[in-house]
């Protein structure tokens, strides 16, 4: 059977379309606020991608992923601000430190499964947040660490939001391609096998412990990159974005997008971020003296509705719907 290249790799088409869409986005989205929002969505997508590989494919829960995000962010911020290290080198050091931390944490933590694993990672996230808060000499404590430099390549400085948008989303696309490759490979199949049944995976020679450790390290590396990109955009770091709530929001993004789906990661990140933004805009108009609580309640309700009607997440949910309509 002769197949054309797009039939052989439907993902290549998706990546291409996605690149075209993103590449042209700053041309027709003029609002600086929306461009900035798109940057945050991109950073969240990188985090969610890592979480999808860990949770959706390998089936290992992490309720403390903000710890790795924060470790990358603080490594970049502290090294560039306090020690004058070049931002790219600091980013690379952040990746190495975070990967090392994830590897070491993986050794004891993967003795646990399911709910117990969730509890342990939750504790890990809380501890990391406290460390960022209390290591004042290094991190600046609750008031944070200002003066993080911009990223630059040679003489070119990423100093406008549009330029940063391209940097962040270029990284997202690259990581999507890498993740798709992993998912559709011997390693990806081994991860899904571990998710389904460790006993069965063992019975065909898959070393579950080794793969769980590897995928945790990989997702931590993604999180570290996201953290570095975040601080160089904000040019400031404080503990607040790396708290427990942040870890939960990441899990929500991954679940809304569809856990076992690489494309679900950016979709979930975009849906949850835009929902938050939209509610912040709309709620005061619906209820004149709406407070943050009202917004939080509406946000929660909408998420419940999404999960009831599309329990497998937006990607699968939309595909199933399209097929249903096509059959009529």
């Amino acid at each position: 059977m002769i197949r054309t290249w797009w039939q052989r790799s439907p993902n290549a088409i998706s990546v291409l379309l996605c690149a075209l869409f993103l590449g042209s986005l700053p041309l027709w989205v003029r609002s600086p606020y929306l461009v900035s929002t798109a940057i945050f969505i991109g950073i969240a997508s990188i985090l969610t991608l890592g979480l999808c590989l860990l949770m959706g494919y390998a089936g290992q829960i992490s309720l403390g992923h903000a710890a790795f995000y924060g470790l990358g962010a603080y490594t970049s911020a502290v090294l560039t601000v306090k020690y004058g290290v070049s931002p790219w080198l600091a980013m690379a050091i952040g990746v190495v430190i975070t990967a090392g931390a994830a590897y070491l944490i993986g050794i004891p933590i993967f003795r646990l499964r399911e709910h117990y694993l969730a509890m342990a990672t939750l504790g890990l996230g809380v501890i990391a947040h406290l460390v960022f808060l209390e290591l004042r000499d290094l991190t600046g404590g609750a008031s944070g660490l200002p003066g993080v430099p911009r990223l630059a390549v040679g003489g070119f400085v990423f100093d406008s939001d549009v330029e940063y948008f391209y940097l962040v989303w270029g990284t997202v696309l690259l990581l999507i391609i890498l993740s798709l490759n992993i998912v559709n490979s011997r390693v990806g199949r081994a991860l899904r096998a571990i998710h389904a049944s460790e006993a069965a995976a063992d019975s065909i020679g898959v070393d579950s412990g080794r793969y769980k450790s590897q995928v945790l390290v990989l997702s931590a590396v993604y999180a570290s990159l996201a953290g570095s990109l975040y601080v160089h955009y904000m040019r400031f770091v404080s503990p607040q974005p790396f708290d427990f709530e942040a870890s939960v929001r990441l899990v929500v993004m991954a679940a809304v997008g569809g856990l076992a789906s690489v494309w679900g990661a950016p979709l979930g990140a975009a849906a949850v971020t835009l929902l938050t933004v939209l509610l912040r805009e709309v709620m005061p108009r619906l209820i004149p003296n709406a407070s943050g609580e009202h917004t939080a309640i509406a946000y929660g309700l909408l998420l419940v509705v999404i999960m009831i009607f599309m329990p497998e997440g937006l990607t699968r949910g939309l595909l199933v719907r399209r097929r249903r309509y096509a059959r009529r």
């Binding site: 890498l178 993740s179 490759n181 992993i182 490979s185 011997r186 390693v187 990806g188 199949r189 081994a190 899904r192 096998a193 389904a196 049944s197 006993a199 069965a200 995976a201 063992d202 019975s203 065909i204 020679g205 898959v206 070393d207 579950s208 590897q214 990989l218 076992a260």
Partner: protein
């Protein structure tokens, strides 16, 4: 081929296996029979390395397996199927068998992420291997079906293909005929013989007496964690202790 020597397994004080010794000859079909709770699956789990015995040793072709983890034993040539198939439900039938080729592939995380040419060639080979083993159990047509949506009998066959894909020299099959209809049982007997002809030693747990009598060269009877009897189908059929265990004391 396989030697189990004085294996005892206690679960929180309850003896599941009590000083069991047995040998399985190379290229033979050996059946492990006995009432429920006799310790048959426990013995499989110990041979496959799911957990260690409390006492005793397992040898594969003379090599002591103590302390070798389950996934390493696959590389040494031990394959197994489970009582409830235990397929990877959300993967296609073909993918299930392709993971079975895991130990015969090498691509790691980095090679996979970068889709190196070496890895692509390997992927092509794993695909062809997967199809070969699927065709062996007659399910080539179902390659792209989700494994979880297959009828139970076919899930069993996929599990066998997955285990064969590891290229075992010893295959442990836990009740392969349970839940199959008469016709499927005939096909299964045929398949097990073909597996033997491939040079694979088969050790199976089975309750279906006619099937065991037809296939097995050696039958080992376990009861309450002990070896009750051992012999050819003829010998076991006439063994008083076996009749007593199966039919009650009075029958013997």
């Amino acid at each position: 081929m396989l030697a189990v020597e004085g294996v005892t397994k206690a679960f929180e004080g309850v003896l599941a296996l009590d000083e069991v010794s047995l040998e399985v000859a190379a290229h033979s079909i050996t059946a492990l029979v006995g009432p429920n709770g006799a310790g048959k699956t426990t013995l499989f789990n110990i041979v496959a390395g799911s957990y260690p015995p409390t006492r005793g040793t397992v040898r594969l072709e003379g090599r002591v397996l103590d302390g070798v983890p389950a996934h390493e034993r696959v590389r040494l040539g031990i394959g197994r199927t489970f009582q409830n198939a235990l397929l990877f439900d959300h993967m296609t039938v073909l993918e299930n068998v392709m993971v079975g080729r895991h130990v015969h592939g090498r691509a790691g995380m980095v090679a996979a992420a970068l889709r190196l040419p070496r890895m692509r060639a390997e992927e092509e080979r794993l695909y062809l291997d997967g199809m070969k083993y699927l065709n062996l159990v007659g399910l080539g047509q179902r390659a792209q079906t989700l494994a979880g949506s297959l009828p139970f009998g076919q899930q069993r066959l996929v599990a066998i293909a997955r285990a064969l894909a590891t290229e075992p020299r010893l295959l442990l099959m836990d009740e392969p005929a349970a839940g199959l209809n008469a016709l499927e049982k005939l096909d299964l007997a045929d398949l097990i013989r073909r597996i033997q002809e491939m040079g694979i030693t088969v050790l199976l747990i089975e309750h279906d007496v006619p099937l065991v009598m037809r296939l097995a060269e050696l039958i080992i009877v376990l009861d309450h964690g002990r070896k009750l009897a051992e012999g050819t189908p003829e010998q076991v059929r006439q063994d008083r202790k076996v009749l007593a265990a199966y039919l009650g004391e009075g029958a013997a």
